[in-house]
Structure formats: structure tokens, C-alpha cells
């Protein structure tokens, strides 16, 4: 109201002075707009007299308004991240005037929710996905969701199975914490995706330090932390429902949760959540990918109480899925592989169907968790217990009545128990010590009528650790040390179906040291840590044909001549040990944010599959590989740059570069993700707008992997075998059946808006992926030998927030 009157007054004055001065409106007003610390602000907007004239500052913060009338004018200057500056200025001649804007701290903060979980306090190098980014990825599996983070990629087995890769490492070499509990499933398998529903998470953090300290062994590449939202204690009902539809695969996903506090019981809260998903066959630009459908049904519930001095929480989740394995990837021997690779259209390609036939997987994962914490005068005590049960059945194309009987039927039960004590003193020193224990049982369910691929085993592990953190001025330093012990008792059947049993034990020490330097606007994080990993029984004892890999694998402990199981003392075995150094520089300017990480990870005694020879058995010729050990070095760089061009426009780009070296003489490592670059721009209605309309475009460039192993095609193997030449006996370096596919570009776009309905909100999002229907193959997709990757996809997502 005041403004309108002032406006009218100003206009009147303007008119009078214009008349009085009798000068035409040809004066100029120039100057520079800076922040209160003197930094010039390019792109700030100046509005004169409520829009009669306006301009934008140039790259050096300079502005120029020409043809301005003599008199008094109102001005309003704004720039994202700063308080609006308004006032009046009287002009009688060409005037130069500089303006200085005040920082608005609340606006500057990126919406990155750092977890308040104590587990991630001592972390230096990490990236995260917040609630909004997770909502943009709704409907995708865990691996696909995490792929948006630079430095993180995936190993795929067709369009439905994604294993996350951190800095080149995956499977047994990264750790996934599902609500604070180590996810224990059959991660040794390249076609075994992590059994976690991304909808339970409110944020996900990828820790790139090889930080074994709090979590135990196996985190050579890093840790993925999946955090559900904190339990609310506000009485009344809250919740969120999301529906996603995708055209490619005709995928329908519905997920939702309800949460609330309990009236008259302060500090109590509960939440129930569920997800249902169904997908049919996906398609590439040229043909349908038969038998790639999937079904998923997940449920979780949490309840707890959090008071000032203590808290207790209980959590239960169930994840279950049935997945089809791409039919065109079913091959037996090398001849089958030749045929499959040379077919223009994969075998058994059928029109679209929701049916899931053999080969397929059926997996269920149950998690029960109890955690408690208590504040004492000098510190906090925490306790966490988890029980997990992972049921995995895999069905192959078997003869006749065996078709419906699983070829692999495993039940893995794991109990984990952790306790820690954390003290903080007035100097900012934090000390944390803890104990962890795991008891695990893996059992093959009888009745598969096949020699089990991995044996039964029982695993007892224990660890003790200590971490200390100290603040020295601008520096935050921490160091930690941990000792782990693992014991296995193994019982299984060898290649002749004869019984064997074994006892194994492994132990090691790991350490970490890191520092964070917090400058006014920039930050430097460095970390050096060691991590180790005991071998999985699959790497020691497995024997069999890896379906769709057309090769036979032998565990490390199988004798090369007799194929009998040896004792580990007979083999020169050493634990895998990683030494990772990583540094991250975060630069925050008014408009520009750059985060850049560089790392070196040297892994000694890296367990890998080394080609050993060609064997001809009744089914034909197969290359065979033995698990062996070598030393490897991973080096890489991840970067993200975000430029806020204006209040509404944001331009961003990311880079993920990695190079893996085999320090031994067995050739380049296979399946190392190629370099990847993303760039995009987003236009968004400013915050405070009713509908939050946005439009975004993104381009992804994946390079061709030029540092992969040498190529020996299946045809070359067969022709040599016909002449009694064993190509692998002559030269047993790593090989690939086909050259790495060409690099490719993918274009994506998204748009959306929100509608407010009272207290609630409805968010709509429409997006297209691979908009140009590009035909491409992904190097890290194990099925790239058999088919193209996905064609164009349209997605619609609707989210309703109570």
C-alpha cells in the first residue's frame, strides 16, 4: 500500500520535474552492482519505476539505463541469494551510482540434506541425493537412481538389473547401508541387484572414502547410505503418494507412506510404507527385449520414541521381486555365443508381454532392525541390532519337468549387532569407540537337482574400532583404526558331487585419516584410508557355467589339475587390501558452485577371473577362467559445476573419469565404466511462485572404453579349437568377446509443475529419456553382446504430499 502511494508520488514528481526541467528523457544512469563484500554481481536485475525501465547487469556487474528522464525514480535491484534493495534516486544529469546488495544466507544454502545419522559424521568425501532429486528419479531401481551422481555408475544385466559402481568398484567391494544396517544379500553375483526399495529413502549418500572404520570390511570403493526420513513426532497424519508410469516397458509404479505422531505421547512416531511395481518387456529402438518384465512388492514399517535423553526405534521391511532375464541372452557354449552375437535380432524375440518366463529370478529380502541411543552427561551410547533374511531363487531354461525347479535356491540369514560410545568435549574433540559382530548362515535349499554353485557356510565376524575427531581453527581432523576378524565354516559338494568341508579365518587392521578445511566460501576435504576384504566363498569354491557368460569359472581353491578343493594354506592367498587417497574441492560463489574430486585407489591382491584355457566338454567348447589375484590401481576424477545464470535459469554439468590399471601382467581389466559427461539447463519459476513450473534439458555423453582388454571373438576361439590350438594357453591375458561399443549421446528433457490444494501439494512431472531414440550399447551391460540398449522412454509421475 505504501508502495503504491510512493509510486504515485514518484510519478507525479517525475512529471513535474520533467515539465520543469524541460529536458527530454535522454539522461543516463550507470554504475556497478556488487555484494556487500565488494564482489560484482553479473545478471542482477534493476527495475525502475515498477517496470517502466529495466536492465540486467553485465558480466562485470555493470549496468546502464539510457533515455531516463530527469526526476526522482524508484528503483528495485534483485539477485538470487541477496536481499532485494529498493529506494529512490533523483536524476538531474547523467548519473553514476553504485549499489551494494546484502547476502541472504537462507537462500544461498543448497538443498542438500546431510544426514543427521551419527554414522556419517566422520566422512569427508561424499555426494548425496536429496528428497527432490530422489523424486525426480522415482520409479527407477536403486542402481539407476544413484547413477546420477558423478563417480557412481552401474553394471547392468539387461534393463532391469543394476549394480551400483563407486569409482570402478562394485558388488563385494562396496557396502550398502540400508537404514544403517549392512545389506547382506548374494552380492557376489553380477546379475544380483541390491534388494532395496529406493522409495524408503528420503536421501541417499555415497561416501567415496574407503572408510571401513565404522562399518566393517568390504568398503573398498565406498559406502552407499540409504536413509529413510526421520520419524516424525507431530500428531496428525502426514504422508506422500507417488505414481509413475513409463512407456518403455509399460511400467507402473505406485508407492506411498503414511506417518504420524501419537497424541498425548510426546516424542512417539510411526510410519508405514509400501511400493508396488509391474513392468513388461522393454524395447530397444529395433526390437522388443523379450522376457525383461518385472514385478515388485515392498512394505516397510517403523515406530519409535525419541526423547531428549534417549530413543528407541524399531523397523521392519520386506522387499520382494520377480525378474525376467532377457531371453536373447541364454547361451550355452561358444557356438551358441557365436550365433547369438551374429543374429541381427535376438533369439526368441516375441511381441510385448507382461509374462515373466524362464530364465527368471525370484528374490525376497526381509529386514528387522532395533536401535537405541541414550545420552549421558559425557557422551552418547548407541546400540543397533539387525536381522536379515535373503531368499534367492533362480530359474533356468531346464529340460522338461525341471523347468519350474530353481537351479539356484539360497537362503542367507544374517544377524548384526553394533554398539558404540561417542564422547564430545568442550574443545570440539569427539571420540567414538565401538564393537560390531555379525553371525551369518548361507544354506542351499535341497531339491534343485544341480550341484550348488556356492557351498553352504556359516560366517562369524567381529570388529572393534576407535575414531577421533578434533577441530583446529578452520581444520577438522580425524583418524580412526579398526581390527576385524572373520571365520567361515564351509560345507559343500565339488564338481564330482563329493562332499567337502573347510574352515577359514581372516583378520586385518584398517585405518583412516582425513581433514576438512572450511574456508569462507570454499572447502577442501582430503582422506587417506585403508580397507580390506576377505574373499567370498563364491570366489574360493564356485564351479560352473556362468549363464549367458558362455564360460566356466573355477574358484581360487580348486586345484588347477584335479579340480579338487584345496586347503587355503596350500594356496598363496592374501587378503584384498585397498589404499585410497581422495581429495575434494568445493567452491561456492554467488552464482557458481564447483565440486571436484580426484582419487587414487591402489588395491593389492585384487581377486579377479583370469583366463586359463579352453575346455571341450560334452556341450562343446568353453573358455574357462580361474579366480586369481593381482594388484590394480584405479585413478579418477569426478566433477560437478552448477551455474545460476539468473533467478530462474540454472546450467549444470558433470564429469566422471576413471582409469584402471592392472599392475600385474594379465592385461587390462574388463567392465571398467567408460568416461561420462553430462550437461544440462533448467528453467524454473522462482521460489514462492504458485505452480513451480520448470523445464529441463539434459545431454549425456558416454565415451567408448578404449582401455579395455584385448578382443578374441567366439568365432576365433572355435576356429583355433578346431585346429587343436588353445588360444588361452598361449596367451592368458584378459579378453573380451567383442570390442567395446561406440560412445553415444543421450538426450533427455523434463517438465513439471505443482498444484497446491490447501495444505497438500500435487507435483506433476513429465519426462522423456533417449528422446532421439538413439541405438546404443552400454559397455557395462553384460547383455550388450546380445541386444541394443533401451529406446525412447516417456515417463509421467504424480506425487501427492499430505
Amino acid at each position: 500500500m505504501n508502495f503504491t502511494w510512493a509510486c504515485l508520488f514518484g510519478l507525479a514528481l517525475n512529471f513535474i520535474t520533467a515539465v520543469l526541467s524541460a529536458q527530454s528523457c535522454s539522461l543516463s544512469l550507470t554504475g556497478i552492482v556488487t555484494s556487500d563484500t565488494g564482489e560484482p554481481l553479473p545478471g542482477a536485475t534493476l527495475v525502475i519505476d515498477d517496470g517502466k525501465q529495466s536492465t540486467v547487469t553485465d558480466a562485470h556487474g555493470h549496468y546502464r539505463i539510457l533515455k531516463i528522464c530527469a526526476g526522482t525514480h524508484l528503483y528495485k535491484i534483485q539477485f538470487v541469494g541477496f536481499h532485494i534493495l529498493s529506494g529512490a534516486i533523483t536524476i538531474t544529469e547523467n548519473t553514476s551510482r553504485d549499489f551494494s546488495l546484502e547476502v541472504d544466507v537462507a537462500q544461498l544454502e543448497e538443498v542438500v540434506v546431510r544426514a543427521h545419522q551419527p554414522l556419517t559424521e566422520h566422512v569427508h568425501n561424499s555426494s548425496s541425493l536429496n528428497v527432490k532429486q530422489l523424486a525426480d528419479a522415482a520409479g527407477k531401481s536403486l542402481g539407476e537412481t544413484l547413477k546420477e551422481i558423478p563417480g557412481v555408475n552401474t553394471i547392468q544385466a539387461g534393463p532391469g538389473i543394476f549394480k551400483p559402481v563407486i569409482h570402478g568398484l562394485y558388488g563385494q567391494r562396496i557396502l550398502i547401508l540400508n537404514y544403517g544396517i549392512r545389506q547382506e544379500g548374494q552380492q557376489w553375483g553380477a546379475e544380483h541387484a541390491p534388494e532395496i526399495d529406493p522409495f524408503i529413502a528420503s536421501n541417499m549418500i555415497v561416501i567415496k572414502d574407503a572408510t571401513a572404520i565404522k562399518y566393517g570390511t568390504d568398503a573398498l570403493g565406498g559406502v552407499i547410505v540409504v536413509n529413510p526420513p526421520e520419524l516424525t513426532d507431530k500428531p496428525g497424519l502426514g504422508g506422500k503418494f507417488t505414481t509413475v508410469g513409463q512407456l518403455n516397458g509399460r511400467v507402473g509404479t505406485m508407492s506411498g507412506y503414511l506417518e504420524g505422531g501419537i497424541k498425548k505421547h510426546d516424542g512417539w512416531g510411526w510410519r508405514i510404507q509400501g511400493t508396488a511395481k509391474q513392468a513388461g518387456d522393454y524395447y530397444s529402438p529395433a526390437y522388443s527385449l523379450t522376457n525383461t518384465g518385472a514385478k515388485e512388492l515392498n512394505f516397510s514399517a517403523a515406530a519409535g520414541v525419541h526423547k531428549e535423553k534417549y530413543g528407541v526405534e524399531v523397523f521392519f521391511s520386506r522387499f520382494s521381486t520377480e525378474l525376467g532375464i532377457f531371453r536373447g541372452a541364454s547361451v550355452g557354449n561358444l557356438t551358441d555365443l557365436v550365433n547369438a552375437m551374429e543374429r541381427p535380432i535376438p533369439q526368441s524375440t516375441q511381441p510385448f508381454s507382461f509374462d515373466i518366463a524362464e530364465p527368471r529370478q525370484a528374490v525376497a529380502h526381509h529386514l528387522f532392525k532395533l536401535n537405541a541411543h541414550a545420552q549421558r552427561t559425557n557422551g552418547e551410547w548407541r546400540l543397533q541390532y539387525g536381522y536379515q533374511r535373503n531368499d534367492r531363487q533362480e530359474f533356468d531354461l531346464r529340460r522338461g519337468s525341471l523347468l519350474k525347479i530353481p537351479a539356484l535356491d539360497l537362503v542367507l540369514q544374517t544377524h548384526t549387532l553394533e554398539t558404540e560410545w561417542e564422547m564430545e568435549n568442550t574443545n570440539g574433540r569427539i571420540l567414538c569407540v565401538g564393537l560390531t559382530g555379525i553371525a551369518q548362515d548361507n544354506a542351499n535349499i535341497p531339491g534343485t537337482q544341480r550341484i550348488p554353485f556356492i557351498p553352504n557356510f556359516v560366517n562369524y565376524s567381529g570388529g572393534v574400532f576407535g575414531v577421533a575427531q578434533q577441530i583446529f581453527g578452520k581444520w577438522k581432523l580425524d583418524a580412526g583404526l579398526r581390527y576385524d576378524y572373520r571365520f567361515y565354516r564351509v560345507k559343500g559338494f565339488d564338481y564330482r558331487n563329493a562332499y567337502y568341508e573347510d574352515k577359514l579365518s581372516f583378520s586385518n587392521v584398517s585405518g583412516t585419516a582425513g581433514a576438512t578445511l572450511q574456508l569462507k566460501r570454499d572447502r577442501l576435504d582430503v582422506n587417506v584410508s585403508t580397507a580390506w576384504r576377505p574373499p567370498h566363498v563364491a570366489e574360493l569354491y564356485s564351479l560352473g557355467v556362468h549363464q549367458s557368460a558362455a564360460s566356466i569359472e573355477y574358484g581360487l581353491l580348486l586345484d588347477p589339475i584335479t579340480t579338487e578343493v584345496r586347503n587355503i594354506s596350500e594356496v598363496n592367498f592374501r587378503n584384498e587390501q585397498a589404499l585410497k587417497s581422495i581429495a575434494t574441492w568445493t567452491m561456492e560463489r554467488k552464482r557458481l558452485q564447483i565440486i571436484a574430486s580426484a582419487y587414487v585407489n591402489r588395491i593389492a591382491n585384487f581377486i579377479f577371473l583370469k583366463p586359463a584355457g579352453i575346455t571341450v566338454n560334452i556341450r562343446g567348447a568353453y573358455p574357462y577362467l580361474r579366480y586369481d589375484q593381482t594388484n590394480v590401481l584405479f585413478t579418477g576424477f569426478d566433477g560437478t559445476a552448477t551455474w545460476r545464470a539468473s533467478a530462474s535459469v540454472k546450467v549444470f554439468s558433470t564429469a566422471s573419469i576413471i582409469r584402471a590399471h592392472n599392475l600385474g601382467s594379465t592385461g587390462e581389466l574388463p567392465f571398467i565404466v567408460p568416461n561420462r559427461f553430462d550437461a544440462g539447463a533448467r528453467w524454473q519459476q522462482p521460489d514462492g511462485s504458485r505452480n513451480r513450473l520448470f523445464f529441463e534439458m539434459k545431454v549425456r555423453r558416454v565415451m567408448k572404453q578404449r582401455n579395455g582388454p584385448r578382443v578374441i571373438t567366439p568365432r576365433q576361439f572355435l576356429e583355433a579349437a578346431e585346429n587343436d590350438i588353445d588360444l588361452l594357453a598361449i596367451d592368458n591375458r584378459n579378453f573380451d568377446f567383442a570390442p567395446a561399443p561406440d560412445g553415444y549421446f543421450l538426450l533427455g528433457a523434463a517438465t513439471g509443475f505443482s498444484v497446491k490444494t490447501g495444505e497438500s501439494r500435487l507435483d506433476f512431472r513429465f519426462s522423456v529419456e533417449n528422446a532421439l531414440n538413439e541405438t546404443f550399447r552400454e559397455y557395462t551391460n553384460r547383455f550388450r553382446y546380445f541386444a541394443y540398449d533401451l529406446g525412447r522412454n516417456f515417463l509421467v509421475s504424480i506425487q501427492y504430499q499430505l
Binding site: V331, G332, N333, T335, D336, Q347, S348, R376, N378, G379, W381, L383, Y385, Y387, L397, R398, R399, G400, L402, L403, Q413, H415, L417, T419, W421, L435, G437, A439, D441, A443, P446, G447, Q449, R450, I451, P455, N456, V458, K491, G492, F493, Y495, R496, N497, Y499, L543, G544, V545, I552, Y554, P560, T563, G613, T615, V616, N617, I618, R619, A621, Y624
Partner: protein, 205 residues
């Protein structure tokens, strides 16, 4: 600090007991040995002359260690007389099972699921006068004399051969394909998964 340890040990102890009880109940079972009916470790080819009094020629291909690295071992080349008619019977066995096991003889199962299985043959050109050519691994329509069928299409456990009048040496290859829902009038040797692929040396004397 002291109270922490006492307290945590108490809770730890309680949980350890519970956890241990749960585990003890599950890890006590020893694994059961599986029957493995799908493995074929032994193939026997029996060429029986159609003329009375002829002596059958038998050759075997055996892979003693199944999926182990040792390659298959052949009992020797197939030695057939020139200008003679033979009936070939193929029998398949799973040597990882006991001989008394009903699944030991895999031939009966292949016959029972004939609509999902087919044998393909190839040999060095002109070693047989009937069928002529070099077999149907390269082209389904090429000549092979099948004596059995699944009701509609041939299987190949029984076939008929006439050796050429002149002597010679070469190769004889057979392939068993598993073609569930894929076997048609034109499905060739590239269709389906390979259950068996063996190549013998062949001598016509």
C-alpha cells in the same frame, strides 16, 4: 565409562544369547547331496550294420569331470566299412549318478521331451553316399536320414547311414539342441541352446 561397558555388555550378552540360539537352530543341518539329472557325461554311438551278422561299431565320448577343465576323451575314431548300410543309435548317460539311478540314462528323457530336442549332424563331404553332402548343421534342409520323430519333427536318436564306396578319413560331428517352443519345420542348428556338441574322427575302410 565404566557404566557404559557394564551396560553394553549386559545388552550385548542378551542379544548374543538370542542371536546364538537363532543361529544354532539353523546351522545345525548338513547340506544334502543333490541328484543331477541334467549332466550328460557320456555319449555312446553305436553303428549297427543292417546286414545280418554284421559287427556293431561303438565309439564313446566321455567327459569324466563334467564341468571341470579336462576336455572330453574319445575312445577312438569311428571306423566303418565302405559301401555298407548302418543304423546309428545314440545313447546318453550321466556318469555323475549311480548306474542304478533312474536318471542315469538320459536318452529316455530326451525321447520323452522329443518336441524340445533335435540332433544335427555334419561330416566331411562325400564320406557317406546316403545321405549325400556334408550334413544339416549348416542348413536344416540338407539331407540326413532320421528314423525317429517326436510326432511331427525328427529327433535324431536313430538315424540311417550308407558309407561311400571309396575309402577316406574325415570328421563326424553331432549336435543336440534344446529348443523349447522353438522347434519348427525350419529351425536349424543355430536355434536354441546346445546340450551336446561332439566331433569324432571318421575313417571309411
Amino acid at each position: 565409562m565404566k557404566s557404559f561397558f557394564i551396560q553394553s555388555f549386559k545388552s550385548f550378552g542378551l542379544f548374543a544369547v538370542i542371536g546364538g540360539l537363532i543361529l544354532l537352530s539353523s546351522c545345525g543341518d548338513d547340506p544334502e547331496k543333490e541328484n543331477t539329472p541334467e549332466a550328460i557325461t557320456l555319449t555312446i554311438l553305436t553303428f549297427t550294420p543292417t546286414t545280418l551278422g554284421g559287427i556293431p561299431v561303438t565309439v564313446t565320448a566321455e567327459d569324466e569331470d563334467g564341468d571341470g577343465p579336462q576336455s572330453i576323451v574319445f575312445s577312438g575314431p569311428i571306423v566303418l566299412e565302405a559301401g555298407t548300410e548302418y543304423d546309428l543309435d545314440i545313447t546318453l548317460f550321466n556318469g555323475l549318478l549311480e548306474v542304478t539311478d533312474p536318471e542315469y540314462n538320459v536318452t529316455t528323457e530326451v525321447k520323452a521331451e522329443g518336441d524340445e530336442h533335435m540332433f544335427f549332424f555334419s561330416w566331411t563331404n562325400n564320406l557317406f553316399s546316403n545321405p549325400t553332402g556334408n550334413g544339416n548343421i549348416d542348413a536344416r534342409a540338407d539331407a540326413v536320414n532320421y528314423l525317429d520323430d517326436d510326432g511331427t519333427y525328427p529327433i535324431g536318436l536313430e538315424t540311417s547311414w550308407v558309407t561311400s564306396a571309396s575309402t577316406g578319413t574325415g570328421k563326424f560331428k553331432l549336435m543336440l539342441k534344446h529348443q523349447p517352443d522353438l522347434k519348427t519345420a525350419t529351425s536349424g542348428s543355430t536355434v536354441g541352446e546346445t546340450d551336446l556338441e561332439v566331433e569324432f574322427d571318421l575313417e571309411i575302410q
